[in-house]
Symmetry: C2
Subunit: 677 residues, 2 copies
Amino acid sequence: MKLTTHEATTTTAQSQLPLDGRPRAVIEGVTPEVDAGRFPIKRVIGDRVIVEADIFADGHDQISADLLYRVTGATEWMRTPFTPLVNDRWRGEFTVDQLGRYQYTIVAWVDHLKTWRHDFERRLAAGSHSLIDIKIGAGYIAAHAGRAAGEDVAILADWARELAESTDLDTATDAALDDLRLATALAYPDATLQSRYARELEIVVDRERARFSSWYELFPRSTGRDGVYGTFSDVERLLPYIAEMGFNVLYLPPIHPIGQSFRKGPNNNVISEPGDPGSPWAIGAAAGGHTSIHPELGTLDEFRHLVAAAAEHGLEMALDIALQTSPDHPYVREHPEWFRWRPDNTVQYAENPPKKYQDIYPFEFETDAWRELWEELRGVFLFWIEQGVRIFRVDNPHTKPFAFWEWLISSLKAEHPDLIFLSESFTRPKVMYRLAKLGFTQSYTYFTWRNTAWEIREYLSEITSPPLSDYFRPNLWPNTPDILNEYLQSGRRPAFIARLILAATLGANYGIYGPAFELLEHVPAEPGKEEYLNSEKYQLRQWDLDRPDSLRDLIAQVNRIRNENRELHQNQTLHFHTIDNPSMVAYSKSDTERQNVMLTIVNLDPYHTHSGWVDLDLDDLGIDESHPYQAHDLLTGDRYLWSGRRNFIQLSPGALPAHIFKLRRHLHTEHDFDYFM
Amino acid sequence: MKLTTHEATTTTAQSQLPLDGRPRAVIEGVTPEVDAGRFPIKRVIGDRVIVEADIFADGHDQISADLLYRVTGATEWMRTPFTPLVNDRWRGEFTVDQLGRYQYTIVAWVDHLKTWRHDFERRLAAGSHSLIDIKIGAGYIAAHAGRAAGEDVAILADWARELAESTDLDTATDAALDDLRLATALAYPDATLQSRYARELEIVVDRERARFSSWYELFPRSTGRDGVYGTFSDVERLLPYIAEMGFNVLYLPPIHPIGQSFRKGPNNNVISEPGDPGSPWAIGAAAGGHTSIHPELGTLDEFRHLVAAAAEHGLEMALDIALQTSPDHPYVREHPEWFRWRPDNTVQYAENPPKKYQDIYPFEFETDAWRELWEELRGVFLFWIEQGVRIFRVDNPHTKPFAFWEWLISSLKAEHPDLIFLSESFTRPKVMYRLAKLGFTQSYTYFTWRNTAWEIREYLSEITSPPLSDYFRPNLWPNTPDILNEYLQSGRRPAFIARLILAATLGANYGIYGPAFELLEHVPAEPGKEEYLNSEKYQLRQWDLDRPDSLRDLIAQVNRIRNENRELHQNQTLHFHTIDNPSMVAYSKSDTERQNVMLTIVNLDPYHTHSGWVDLDLDDLGIDESHPYQAHDLLTGDRYLWSGRRNFIQLSPGALPAHIFKLRRHLHTEHDFDYFM
């Protein structure tokens, strides 16, 4: 169907006569839409995409509008009608059921046939209807017949004739009110009078893992027995341990050969001793670069074996890609044009003056050879994709050009729409959001530094609401190898539990850096810093995974609750509730049909028992205020009988600092008793 | 200068390599911008246009950005630098000093020279600077020298050489810190690395009357002596009366021949008697149509004489254009193709079923002959423009297509940028806002129905804040010939005074329909309706302008206050203050430099004296909390000594229900006394 592009005109040309001045509907205020369509929105397969717009025309005529959508590249649009809400706002929706990109846009028109019918009913109600009015309708129906197809042509032509030729008002009125034939006719609108929205908006449709994932980060080299350099086989041995905790993504820091030049010693010492393993992020040595494997970890075959073994445990492999080199990387010799050279003929190392990071060379993205550099780096991803990796955690993407990432992710996902990219960017908010807009599937957040109830409520509300949530998918981490927050340093076990439960229930995507997390590793390299003492970044560690104080069982329980309750698989329904103690936080997630509700309440003070009255927004939860309901704590199994908005909560850090409730609406009453009726 | 258009790429092409991948800055979140640049913003001549944007790049390099602007159609852009605010937000500004359209856009780039200097200062502070660092800077400066012009070439080349060849660190450091030559160099950035915002945004620059106007509406035919049909000469006789009240726009309802068919009698009676004058909006008769003058009002020459005479009194003529016809309009005979025909070979009259308006024919804008219709209607405006009219009050624009108005106003203003169009649309908000976006200079509002403090605060805040205020200019009317609000019906004199002062001080643009207003006309056609009894729309009225209870002197005083205080010439600084009595409202306007403040406080209850404590936002007013200040009531001349935020107010409807204060900051203290020092 040919569509008029009335809305596509630009401001500067408004004093020219338009191509066709007759389309009268206007379409504006379209949501979702990121930066006027500059970037796609993100959804996962199976999602209902809900599109709203302000649609109206001059005068008092009735409007019709269709939502058009298609897989990007398809020639035909699919259509679904918009329905009016209030205040000229309209809504339409469709389901995305295939990976990759979709497009959507809107057409709208003044619908004369619908207007005629609407007005006819009002005339009828006032007793002022006439045969003339019916003949006018016959004219519109005849026009629809002229655009109809198949047997509808005759059906509509007959209807038009019937109305036009009728001489009995009552008979004609009955025929004019024929809903069935009206519906048939409305399917053939006059396309020449249609306005079309100026933009075709895009959707990136990801697989479900993009929305719901539980990450476990692990340094492979620390998995060896008795202090020996760990190997991929050692990691395989740990797969049951990780899988039993309920994770579904296993993320490894870089596995490539590590440079010798300016290698860092333990605790980031600028001097290293022979035998010090160096930082895995100082990538590249004689043994190879970004497509090579550190010889002590194993071979490429062994890596592929690990990927397959992990999959058998329900664990998907995520690799860390850090686009930087050590001075010993083969690129430095083979492609000097990809680096910035100093007047003393040395390569410019990374620095943030006066700090110097001489073990790291950044790429020079402003090189004339940028095309070759981009293609080479794309090849790094393609190499690991060939080894079976589909999830990449990208190191510091905010220090490489935005245009590069946009091209890289778009072009890789064009061929592999199941890829997931996690942006490891802890920088200024607009930079982080831009990386999400341009294509990163998930993003690290400031969650690590949001430890008070007010901070948690403000920040999580911001990052889980539109328009941000249309493109930014938070992945919440209580700790990372770079960040041991003061809350964990000082709060010990109750703090670890609180942060675990917050991350796992606030974020559909979350992760921990283990075994440091479950083993309550909490000593900083120095007071006031967030670096771990004896960080695995610079040395091998041995972990006693069977320590009795390990959080592994609690983690397993929390992940089981996550896995079994779909309410926690998305952030869209996250809703904070008031609690009258500022050391506590309460929030719920419903499933998208609002049938089931999970309510989490956390005591954020690791030192003291706190109690308070939670004031639940029962309207949001869809719970009837006048009926009792059950709060079933899935952590302890305890069941509480509640009623109304306000309920009492007490949580002791010495026991468990949190409830994860499933709220159950239906409680038995006498009406359910067998002999009641 | 050639500019790279990195930002102009569209989403669908992101998997293609960009033309140039090296520009690294991104520009987003630009304000002001209406619907992603689909519509221009509005400003008046002399305004500073303040543009903000989020501008940033990857990494930690320094950014520079320029705001580009030009009169639309000019080949060269003018430039002014952006300066950073906080959180990656930048600001630039320029003055619009000519009527018509302007464009603006943004370029931004990673500035290596600025980065080098910034880093060098940090190295210097840490004592880690070196000759190598200085040589790197020399390289950047040499590149700038290569792009420089005139004598700057040599200046910069010398500087580069000086730095490159220096062997003494202290000397070289001094030279590296040369601010003067740095400023010279920074003027020659590397255009190949610049990103440019995807859109060129537009501004419509109007004359000052668009922002500040005081309208007086008058039915000319009611100005005759002794009940005789009034003429343009009679209106001329009233010019001193209107001018002395301080208005600057005189607006006349349609002055064209009035149809006989289905002519309405007094009080909208469907039957008229011979001699009934009919509604001026039923345009067109044997004597002519939209470019003719009702024979009893006078001739075209007399109209032109009135326009000139009004101008001599400081009154600009505004004409009402209603694009509809009576059944007797010459168009019906000459252009039947511009109307919709019914099966009984009659023209479709206006109706809102079951209501019929048989005295009015709407144009059929969906006619195949729409181009001829549009051009003809444009000709109507051009005709009156030729008679000296520059202000048009457009009747019910929301019942004619948006595309028509956009073209009409754009094309007329392209030749006559001093035109002002007031949109008389009292319909759903998005429709009213669309009309403003597409070009109407001013708009009627819901002010007429906003009579309580809460309503006034909410509504006025909405319509005077960005983004709405970037394109919507409210014109506030306490009454119109169609709307006698219940507040005026029942509240009598204090109500009229309160509404006058609210309209005149809340809105830089306001108007009254007189003499009904100043003569306190308040009886509705029937209880519960807003139509006037014996409305001038359907009959001649005689007004006794010298009645002792007339508000003319108060109106004159209020308009004098408006005219003498520039704070009231704009809405941008409107700020509501808390007052602890819900029957009272308090708000201020400062001038844009925040030097002078007008504070208005109104008792909205026409029946009772009210008092309350106003809590002034002294931060917004720029008043020092610790110093007393003077509140000078410009209505009464009374002066009050105030200090701090909270001050007591009492207003009696029997006296004056409002204060219009000028706040005066400087009060004399002992320090000002001649002999103090």
